[in-house]
Symmetry: C2
Subunit: 480 residues, 2 copies
C-alpha cells in the first residue's frame, strides 16, 4: 500500500506539530496526491505514518475540517472536501461613480484599504486609535470572570458602565441617573431604535441642511417624509425652522448639537433656547446625536441639558473616538420611555454589546480613554490648522472654522462641481472625497465638500486635489 | 494649614501606589474631610504630602476623575465632585406577574441572577460555555494587528469568516458562496433587517403556532399582521398552511427548520418539499432561522438547501451555542439582494461586529468551537433523558421527544394552567418558567410549557415544581 510521504514536524521550528501535519495534508490535497472525496488515513495510521502522536492528528484533522478542507463523516472517517468550485470572494461593488447618494461615501470608505487616501472618510485613521490600551483591556478581560465573556447582559445594559456614563454626561450639563440610560449596539442603532419608537410611516421628520447623510438613508427606511432647515454657524436657522414647523408639522427633529456633522459648527446657547421654545410650541421631539462630544475642548450647550430630557432624547457613542469595531451606543431619555425602548430593543435586536460594555468600562475606569482623547484633541487641532492652510492655498475655503473635531465644511472655487471633482479624484488619483450634496436634502451644496482633517495629512492628497481641481475648473472667461 | 493624613501606599501589598492614593482620597471624600466642590491639593503638594511621585498622583487623579468622584477644571485643578444625590440604580422592573406577553420571559431571564433557577430560559447556562477557549481567543486577538481592534470592517463583513461559514453551510446542504453571505450583529438583527427589507406596514406574515415569541414582538414593531399555522412533529401543518396562504396571502413565512423553538421538532424532507411547493404557488418568501443548527447530531433537511436560496433566506448565529455577549449573525440569500441588504444595514446600524467576527474566526479556525459543540451535544442528550424522566414523574409529558437541542415542549397535567403555574412558581420558589401561550399566536397552549433541559438539572427545580403543581391543580372531581 502506498504510504504518504513522511511529514517533518520538526523541520520548521515556528510550526507546531499540529500545524506541520496540517501543512502536509494541505499540500497533498493541493498537488492532488489526495483527491476530492478520497478517505484520509485513519487517525492511528496517520499518526504512525507521520511519526506523531494520535492526539496531534486528531487536532490537525479537526482544524482542517473546521477550515472546510476535509470533512468528517461520523462513523466512517475523514474525507477530502468535495472541492467546491473556487469561491467567488468578490465583494458587493459600489457604484463606481461618485454621487450624492447618501450611502455612497460610507460604502466607498469601508471598501477603501487602510493606506488609501480618503479625506472624505467619516472616521479617524486607525493609527490614531489607542491600540495598546485596547490590547491591555482585552488581556484584562481575558482574565476576568466568565459572565461578560459568554452571558447576556441585563436588559438596560451594564449598570457599572451606565453609572460612569451618567457622571460623564453630568460634565456636559446633562443630568441623568443611570436608570434613565440604556445601552445600544451603536449610536446609529440608538437613533434607529428611537425612530421606530417615535415614528409612524408617513410622519414628517426635520433634519439640518446639510446633515449626516445616514440620517436621510435611515429615515427612508422608516418611510418618513424628510424636511430640512439650513444650518448656520450657531445651529439651525431659527426663522426657517419656525416656518418649517408651522408648514410641515414634523414629529421629530434629528440633529447634532455639538460639532455638527458635516459642518463642524456648534449650537449657541441662544439658538438652543429658541429651538426648545419652538419645539414646545409645536410639540416636537428632538434626538440630539452627540457622538462627537469627546472631541470638544470645552462643552458647547446641549439641548438635552437645557431641556432636562423632557422632549430631547440624547444619544452618544464611542465609535468615532475609541474603536469602530468595539461599538456601543447609549440613549438618555425620560424615565417613562426607557422601559418601552428596552422592550423594543429586546424584540428587534435582543441584547446590546455586553462584551463591548465591559471593554469600554475597563478603558474608562482606568483613565485610558481620557488620556487617549487628550492626545486626539491636540492632534486634531494641529491637523485642522495645517489642513485649512493647504486647502486655502488651493482656493478651497472653510464655510466655518470649527473650534474642534475632525470635520471642516469647505467651499470649492467658483465653477467647480463637488460630485464631478470627487469622481475625477477617485478615478484619476484614488482619492476618496465627500461631495456636499451627499449631506444636503435641498441639494444646494454642489460647491461644498466635507474634509476630515485627520485623514488629510498626506501631502499627496493636495497634489492630487490640485490636479483634479484644474481638470474640473470650468474657465470663468470663455475661451477666445 | 491642615495636612491631609499620610497615605500608606505600601501598607497593603496588593494595592499599587496609584490605587492606594485613590483609596485614600476616596475615604476622605466619604468621611467628608474633603467636601463637595472643594479643590484638591495640587499634584505637587499631594505628591509631597503622600510621599509618592507626581506621576502617581497624576494617574490617581485621572482615574478618580474617570470614575466621576472628582472633576478636572482645566487651568484650575481638581475638585471634589458635586456629590450628586445618590444615583437611582434601580433597573426597569418587568411586570411582576407571569404572563403570555411575548417579551416577558426574555426580560425575566435577563434580570434573573446567574444562580436562580430558570427552566424557562432560552439559552444555555454560562457554565456550559467555552470559557477557556474564549479567554485564549481574546489573548490571541490582543496580540494581533490593529485593524480588527479599532477599525470598521468591510460592508459585508469579514471575508475570511464568510469563507468559513460557506464551508459550514455546505455541510448542511446549503450551497452558498461567501459573496452571498453577509454578517449582522445577531441572528435577531438579521431577521429584523430582512423584515425591513421585505415588508410594508400592513403586510401579512405567517409564523408557526407555537413559535419563538420574539418573532411576534418583532413583527408588531414592523406593523405586520400575523397569522399562524399549527406546528406538527414534522414541520408546519401543510393542509392548514395551504388554506392560510389562500385566505390571508401572507408575503413572508418565518420559521426554524431544525430544532424548532419551542417544540424541538424538525422539518421532514416531505414537509419541506410541500412547503416549498406551496410557497412557489403563492409567491411566499421564507426566512429560515437556523440558530440552533449546531445542536444537531445529524443535519435535518433545510428549506434553504432544497430551494437553493431562491425564495428562502437563511439566517444563522452563534449566540445560542458560543457566547451571548460576543454576538454575530449571518444571512445567506440571493446575489441580487445582498447589495441592498448591506446598504440597508449601513443606513440603520452601520457596521456589524468586526471584532466579534475576528473572535469567532479564531474560535472556528482553531477547532475550539467544534470541540466545544461536541461536548455540548453530549451533555444535552444526557440532560434531555434525565429531565424528561423527572418531568414525567410529575405528570408533565413531552409533546414530542426532540432528537437534539435544549428545548422540550411539554403538556401539563389536566386542569393546570401554565400561566398560573408560572406565576406561582416565580413568586413562591423564584422559579422562572416559560408558559406556552407566550409562544402561541392562537393562545391555544394554555396547558403547555417550554423547558430548557440544560437549565433544569437542579433537583430543587422539581421539588418546587411539584409543590406549585399541587397548589395549581384544580380538583378533577368537585369537592363533596
Amino acid at each position: 500500500m502506498h504510504r504518504p510521504p513522511r511529514a517533518a514536524p520538526h523541520a520548521t521550528p515556528a510550526l507546531t506539530r499540529v500545524e506541520a501535519v496540517m501543512r502536509d495534508i494541505r499540500q497533498r490535497i493541493e498537488n492532488r496526491s489526495l483527491c476530492a472525496g478520497k478517505r484520509l488515513p485513519s487517525i492511528r495510521a496517520q499518526a504512525e505514518a507521520l511519526g506523531v502522536s494520535r492526539s496531534t492528528v486528531v487536532e490537525a484533522y479537526a482544524r482542517l475540517a473546521a477550515q472546510g478542507l476535509i470533512e468528517s463523516r461520523p462513523g466512517s472517517g475523514y474525507y477530502v472536501g468535495r472541492q467546491l468550485t473556487p469561491f467567488n470572494v468578490a465583494e458587493v461593488q459600489p457604484a463606481g461613480t461618485a454621487s450624492s447618494d447618501p450611502v455612497w461615501v460610507t460604502r466607498q470608505s469601508l471598501l477603501a484599504d487602510a493606506n488609501s487616501l480618503k479625506p472624505g472618510c467619516g472616521w479617524l485613521p486607525e493609527s490614531w486609535m489607542p491600540e495598546q490600551g485596547i490590547r491591555r483591556a482585552l488581556r484584562t478581560l481575558s482574565r476576568q470572570p466568565l459572565a461578560p465573556l459568554t452571558g447576556y447582559g441585563t436588559p438596560q445594559g451594564s449598570p457599572q458602565l451606565r453609572q460612569l456614563l451618567s457622571h460623564r454626561l453630568a460634565e456636559r450639563g446633562v443630568q441623568v441617573p443611570p436608570a434613565q440610560l440604556m445601552l445600544t449596539e451603536s449610536g446609529t442603532q440608538a437613533v434607529d431604535l428611537l425612530c421606530r419608537f417615535l415614528l409612524q410611516p408617513g410622519d414628517t421628520v426635520l433634519v439640518d441642511d446639510p446633515c449626516y447623510f445616514s440620517f436621510q438613508a435611515m429615515l427612508r427606511a422608516h418611510r418618513a417624509k424628510v424636511v430640512s432647515v439650513p444650518y448656520t454657524p450657531h445651529g439651525p436657522d431659527v426663522a426657517a425652522m419656525a416656518q418649517c414647523l408651522a408648514e410641515h408639522r414634523p414629529r421629530l427633529y434629528i440633529t447634532n448639537a455639538a460639532l455638527h456633522n458635516p459642518t463642524g459648527a456648534s449650537l449657541s446657547l441662544a439658538v438652543a433656547h429658541q429651538v426648545l421654545s419652538l419645539a414646545a410650541q409645536h410639540d416636537l421631539t428632538i434626538i440630539e446625536d452627540d457622538v462627537f462630544a469627546d472631541f470638544e475642548h470645552h462643552p458647547a450647550p446641549r439641548l438635552a441639558a437645557l431641556d432636562g430630557l423632557q422632549r430631547v432624547i440624547y444619544v452618544g457613542s464611542f465609535s468615532k473616538t475609541l474603536s469602530a469595531s468595539v461599538r456601543l451606543g447609549h440613549i438618555a431619555t425620560r424615565a417613562d420611555w426607557i422601559g418601552q425602548l428596552v422592550d423594543l430593543r429586546l424584540a428587534t435586536s435582543f441584547e446590546a454589546g455586553h462584551f463591548s460594555a465591559e471593554l469600554l468600562h475597563t478603558l474608562l475606569a482606568s483613565g485610558t480613554y481620557q488620556r487617549h482623547m487628550n492626545g486626539v484633541r491636540t492632534r486634531l487641532a494641529e491637523a485642522m490648522g495645517m489642513v485649512l492652510e493647504r486647502l486655502q492655498s488651493l482656493g478651497i475655503t472653510p464655510w466655518y472654522r470649527p473650534h474642534a473635531g475632525m470635520f471642516v465644511w469647505c467651499r470649492l472655487p467658483e465653477g467647480v462641481d463637488a460630485v464631478q471633482l470627487a469622481d475625477h479624484a477617485l478615478h484619476t488619483h484614488g482619492l476618496l472625497l465627500a461631495p456636499g450634496n451627499a449631506f444636503s436634502l435641498s441639494q444646494n451644496a454642489a460647491r461644498y465638500m466635507r474634509f476630515n482633517v485627520a485623514q488629510s495629512l498626506s501631502p499627496a492628497i493636495f497634489e492630487a486635489l490640485a490636479r483634479s481641481l484644474q481638470a474640473c475648473a470650468s474657465p470663468s472667461v470663455p475661451a477666445p
